[in-house]
Amino acid sequence: MSFPHGSDLETTTRLSRHQGEADARTLDGWRARGGYEALRRSLDMSPAEITDVVKDSGLRGRGGAGFPTGLKWSFMPKDDGKPHYLCCNADESEPGAFKDREVIRWTPHLLIEGCLIASRAIGAEHAYIYVRGEFFEETQVLNAAVVEAYDNGLAGDGILGSSWSCDVTIHAGAGAYIAGEETGLMNSLMGNRAEPWAKPPFPAQAGAFGMPTTVNNVETLAAVPMILENGADWYRQWGSEQSPGTKLWSCSGHLARPGNYEFALGLPLSDIIFEACGGTPSGKPVKAVIPGGSSTAFLNGDELDCATTYEGLAEAGSALGTASPIVMDEDTDIVAAMRRIAQFYAHESCGQCVQCREGTSWVVRILQRIEAGEGRPSDIDTLYELCEQMTGRTICVLADSVVFPLQSSLDKFRADYEALMKPSLVAAG
């Protein structure tokens, strides 16, 4: 399931257009759909030319941070004599997001092609695809595709008869959220604990195995072949100046038609929720939406008119993130939802930074106490202060990830918290 639903909206199924076609998984089926043409074309281009096309297209990282992909590639040192590596981040583990899984499951060759083109652009001799441990079926599909690619001269030595070689390796993780952070991913790839490291060194200086490395999300790499084939201007026909192109959306929660969609960037969020996904199944009003996966800030039910671009959602006080809206109708217990989100981050904290290790679980314990009716008004002040102390103080942004939803839920749904507290205490507080 969960290949894009048909929709009355202006759906723009470019990246996902072959999802749902079992045939597209095989090399023959993929070639029949024009597969590996972009790779062939890239072999006639210089790495700088490939990077320029991607730069011009304005493609931004689809893993959540939205960093411009071409710019990231251009950070890789040139002619430094060292081996370079590409890491494809397929450790999709943000609660709410399930888009990369479908790319891998239905169009593994698209991902491999994207990896190879990116490898060529950054001068990588080895592309590692770090797949989330729980993606068992997807890993099998991807493995089969990689074997096919090697057997047909599309990976390994002398790709497509050229003098260029690049290996592709699938690496299954062990199921840690933090392995999806780029430095955590590389540590895990190297056999260490999946612990993010403090930058510098940046991956482009010293990443996997101490060598210059670029880490890109699955969806980002999967978008590269079509950009190379059709050109930067073609890609820019969708979306805004700062957020061009199309984007996969993983819509979940209280929705009549949850699932994966692909839209041009820039639609109003309300269109996606109400038009494409049919609103709440019960017809009740939407109380809250976390638009970009669990690590982004809550939006109120009346804040959904914002444009679904990186800048549009930032303006609305949240973030596009992985474009994985979790919709909650008016019956939702926001405190319970927030506690569950916080529990996830407390469980997934790698334990290096004090603020994250101790702070996330402290937040959980406070929220549990509030849920149990033992809350005090001062708890809200404490939570606000913890939010402040956990923001921007740590190696990676896991601690910030719990702060965004927590702080926004306190801002927007304070009454929900206070409703759980003893009335006498609220009055006194």
Partner: protein
């Protein structure tokens, strides 16, 4: 400053004070140049990796939006660092509050109390009250090796211990297990922590999470006295601090010396030092009275010994000295032997296993199990295998059946026969203990161990290092140099000295190997003796290789 190429130094401002440091210096170290110690947990100057994970050393840098970890931040020209801004201080205070969320606050029974970086920083940051009202996570304690306990609840997961083992000892048997607030330190599944340098993980622990089992619950920090000393376990001469309580050594910690042991020491040294003062000691001077050794006061004993020595007829005899004796003791024995016409003392050195710390080339547990074999050799001592081993080719071996004078300085005389020294004209035994083989002695003078006096050792490469008195000697025992200077003074040779400085200065004046050294100049870091390997290397570095025929 030279504009071409990389600059050698950078100048930055830390807390309003301008400081110039070599390029590449991290801000946390640059701050120490201006007397600012930025609070830290995971940073340790002796451990090369800096994960910047404790977030305690965050400082404010002008023009940067976020606080920066000063342990990894490179000092740069025109950088303006504020370690005590409100933001930095609040951040530090919050780290302490976070660290105390699950901390059991069992300071009253914790061995680190009083020397704990968590306690210290709680006071420094004024984080004395917690808003935590939730039940704490409880982990309990574990035995992490056969002699080290791990109190998981006290642990701040700074990973200094893991990184000491991995990055300094190159032993990856210690790991962080689990994650988040369930993380703890453990051995890798199926592996044991069994490294000759593992004791250092206790020293690097900033809190009371790792404790040596032989120290646990033994002494409070404020009940201990500390003395700078040198480990006598092998000729490396690791600089140590001896912690004592009620005149017993209860703990030994390495003391930093970049030229010798860096920040570390081996476990053999620790065990050896803690045991060094145990056992039954010689406490009273004894002099021969017919068949018996009679206890007497010092004046009587010294007068009698001097009298007997004056009365010795023909010069000659033999001597055995301990390679654990201090340079000063050896010097005075040497003077005495010269007077008695005894050439070169014999000495024996027990041998043991060796061990090396891979990343610190100067730090090794060496095979000789003695502190000062080099010192004995500088005074013309002859290494022998056993007391009575064949005299062929080894003129200095002592069988104990020679005539003339026999002087033994603190050798336990293991393997000596019942009649050892019986044939000697005068058998003087100076010792910390009273072995059976001293039964034939004409006089036994009780002396202090190295831990009970001040003095110097010469390490394997000729580095002369000072150690200081940590304990009171038992009974009437006194430092060997103090005793011998009095014997010699009675023989008309020099004056009685009461202070080690006097003994040391006389040694420097009269023993060419030590020429040029001063007690103050040696300081707490030591200095190479003239003519030693270390001094030769230093000289070669300055003057270049010298011609053999020059």
């Amino acid at each position: 400053m030279a504009e071409n190429g990389a600059k050698a130094t950078v100048t930055l401002t830390i807390d309003g004070v301008e400081v110039t440091v070599p390029s590449g210096t991290r801000v946390i170290e640059a701050a120490e140049h201006v007397g600012v110690v930025v609070p830290r947990y995971c940073y340790h100057p002796g451990i090369p990796t800096r994960p910047a994970q404790c977030r305690m050393c965050l400082v404010e840098v002008e023009g940067r939006p976020k606080l920066e970890p000063s342990c990894t931040l490179q000092a740069a020209d025109e950088m303006v660092v504020n370690t005590a801004s409100d933001t930095a201080r609040t951040a530090r205070q919050s780290v302490i509050e976070f660290l105390l969320v699950n901390h059991p606050l069992d300071c009253p029974i914790c061995d680190a109390a009083g020397q704990c970086m968590l306690q210290d920083y709680a006071y420094v940051t004024n984080q004395l009250e917690s808003r935590v009202d939730e039940p704490k996570r409880i982990m309990g304690r574990d035995r992490i090796s056969d002699d080290i306990l791990y109190f998981a609840d006290r642990c701040v997961i700074c990973t200094r211990c893991v990184r000491f083992m991995r990055d300094v000892a190159e032993d990856d048997s210690l790991i962080v297990a689990q994650r988040g607030d369930k993380a703890y330190i453990d051995t890798f599944p199926g592996r044991e922590l069994d490294n000759p340098f593992q004791g250092n993980i206790v020293d690097v622990c900033p809190v009371g999470a790792l404790v040596h089992e032989d120290f646990v619950f033994k002494a409070r920090a404020w009940d201990m006295d500390a003395a700078a000393s040198v480990c006598p376990g092998c000729p490396t001469g690791c600089n140590v601090t001896i912690d004592t309580k009620e005149n017993q050594i209860v703990r030994v910690k390495p003391r930093h010396n970049a030229a010798v042991n860096s920040w570390w020491m081996c476990d053999h040294g620790r065990r050896h030092l803690v045991m060094t003062n145990r056992g039954v000691r010689a406490e009273v001077p004894l002099i021969r009275d017919g068949e018996q050794l009679r206890p007497v006061d010092w004046a009587t004993a010294l007068d009698w010994v001097a009298e007997q020595m004056e009365a010795l007829g023909s010069p000659g005899g033999s001597a055995v000295v301990s390679p654990d004796a201090s340079n000063e003791n050896l010097f005075y024995v040497h003077r005495l032997l010269e007077r008695l016409g005894v050439a070169g003392a014999a000495f024996r050195v027990a041998q043991g296993d060796t061990a090396a710390l891979p990343t610190v080339p100067t730090l090794k547990l060496r095979a000789d199990r003695a502190a000062n074999a080099t010192g004995v050799e500088l005074f013309g001592g002859c290494r022998v295998d056993g007391l009575a081993d064949g005299s062929e080719g080894n003129g200095s071996a002592v069988s104990g059946s020679e005539g003339g004078a026999l002087v033994v300085l603190d050798d336990a005389l293991e393997g000596a026969g019942e009649d050892f020294g019986g044939a000697a004209d005068f058998f003087l035994y100076l010792g910390t203990r009273l072995p059976g083989a001293a039964r034939n002695a004409d006089a036994v003078l009780p002396i202090a161990t190295f831990a009970e006096m001040d003095g110097t050792f010469t390490n394997f490469e000729g580095r002369v290092q000072r150690f200081h008195q940590a304990l009171r000697p038992p009974g009437l025992a006194r430092p060997g140099w103090m005793v011998l200077s009095r014997v010699l003074a009675r023989l008309g040779d020099g004056e009685a000295v009461n202070e080690v400085r006097g003994a040391f200065e006389r040694m420097v004046a009269e023993a060419p190997a030590f020429a040029g050294l001063t007690w103050d100049g040696i300081g707490l870091k030591g200095a190479p003796a003239a003519g030693s390997a270390a001094a030769a290397a230093a000289a070669a570095g300055i003057h270049g290789p010298q011609k053999a025929d020059a």
